[in-house]
């Protein structure tokens, strides 16, 4: 597990202890949650122990989940899943196979990856990959279809396919 650094100088909070948010400066509170979120952003492909992150941020697990959800609209686990799926979408536009993408972003089961991807994105990873490759091929074949002419005419660009760009 990567070193999160010193996030708390006031000592750990006992598990289950009630915490009054107002006891801490607001900015200090935000920094601890933000650093946890950035840790997830940087280590999403690893096996992340969210309990450990909560402890390193000096919160009880329950309190950490509640504060995180209040700030980001998702629990840490939901956020981690979303980060993995968003990274998967990027990788699927490249030459990696669905299986390679699945394990690259931190999933350990192709079935669970496919199921979650379909739930969040609305289509299977294979369908999304095929769609993105087709879109990229269209852009490369006829880029002027995607560029307003007022800009395109100002550059020394090969306009041999300009007529194809006009609907």
């Amino acid at each position: 597990m990567a070193d999160l650094g010193i996030l708390c100088s006031k000592g750990r909070i006992a598990e289950g202890e009630q915490v009054n948010d107002e006891a801490y400066p607001k900015t200090y509170l935000y920094r601890r949650i933000v650093r946890s979120k950035l840790f997830i952003d940087d280590h999403f492909s690893e096996s992340i122990d969210l309990e450990h992150i909560a402890g390193e941020a000096c919160f009880s697990k329950f309190h950490f989940i509640r504060l995180f959800a209040r700030m980001y609209g998702k629990t840490p686990h939901q956020y981690l899943s979303c980060v993995r799926i968003e990274k998967a979408k990027l990788l699927l536009t490249e030459r990696l196979s669905v299986t390679e993408v699945c394990f690259s972003v931190g999933f350990d089961s192709l079935a669970s990856f496919t199921d979650l991807f379909k739930r969040i994105v609305g289509k299977t990873p294979s369908a999304y990959k095929a769609e993105q490759h087709q879109h990229r091929a269209e852009i490369l074949a006829m880029p002027l279809r995607y560029i307003p002419f007022c800009f395109a005419e100002k550059i020394p660009y090969e306009k041999s396919n300009f007529r194809e760009a006009i609907p």
Binding site: T27, Y30, V34, M71, P143, Y146, A152, I155, Y157, E158
Partner: protein
């Protein structure tokens, strides 16, 4: 009649660096990345909740819209932080401020309560500045 705004332009010193800033630091999504000839790209990004608003990342280089002298003048103005290109909104300005600061973004103004809400201002990697606001 005009119905909506589809594109807005931001002039930058380096397109690759700006791509990294707007996508990886600010968290915007790439909308279109199309080749425009040797060393040039039509690159547009969009904020997460506005997939149909394209922010066009335009490099200030001689040849496209600028003469050599105009490009140099424009680059100096951008480096000086002359231009503010708009206002970005956030639901939680303190969280956004702490995160962008942790990622190395330069803020001109910390979150400050104003009449309309809470506002901060920051610069992109070229020097352009933006307002970041959370409305009341």
């Amino acid at each position: 009649m005009i119905t909506r705004l589809s594109h807005v332009c931001v002039y930058v010193l380096d397109q690759a660096s700006a791509h990294d800033f707007y996508v990886n630091t600010l968290g915007f999504n790439v909308h279109t990345d199309a080749p425009m000839g040797p060393g040039m790209r039509w690159l547009t990004v969009c904020p997460p909740d506005q997939p149909d608003l394209e922010i066009t990342i335009l490099p200030i280089v001689e040849g496209m819209m600028f003469t050599k002298e105009t490009a140099e003048h424009m680059r100096n103005l951008v480096k000086k932080g002359t231009f503010g290109f708009g206002v970005f909104e956030t639901k939680d300005i303190y969280a956004t401020y702490e995160e962008l600061k942790a990622k190395g973004v330069e803020f001109k103004k910390q979150p400050t309560k104003e009449v309309y809400g809470i506002e901060a201002t920051f610069k992109d990697d070229s020097g352009n500045w933006f307002s970041l606001s959370q409305r009341v």
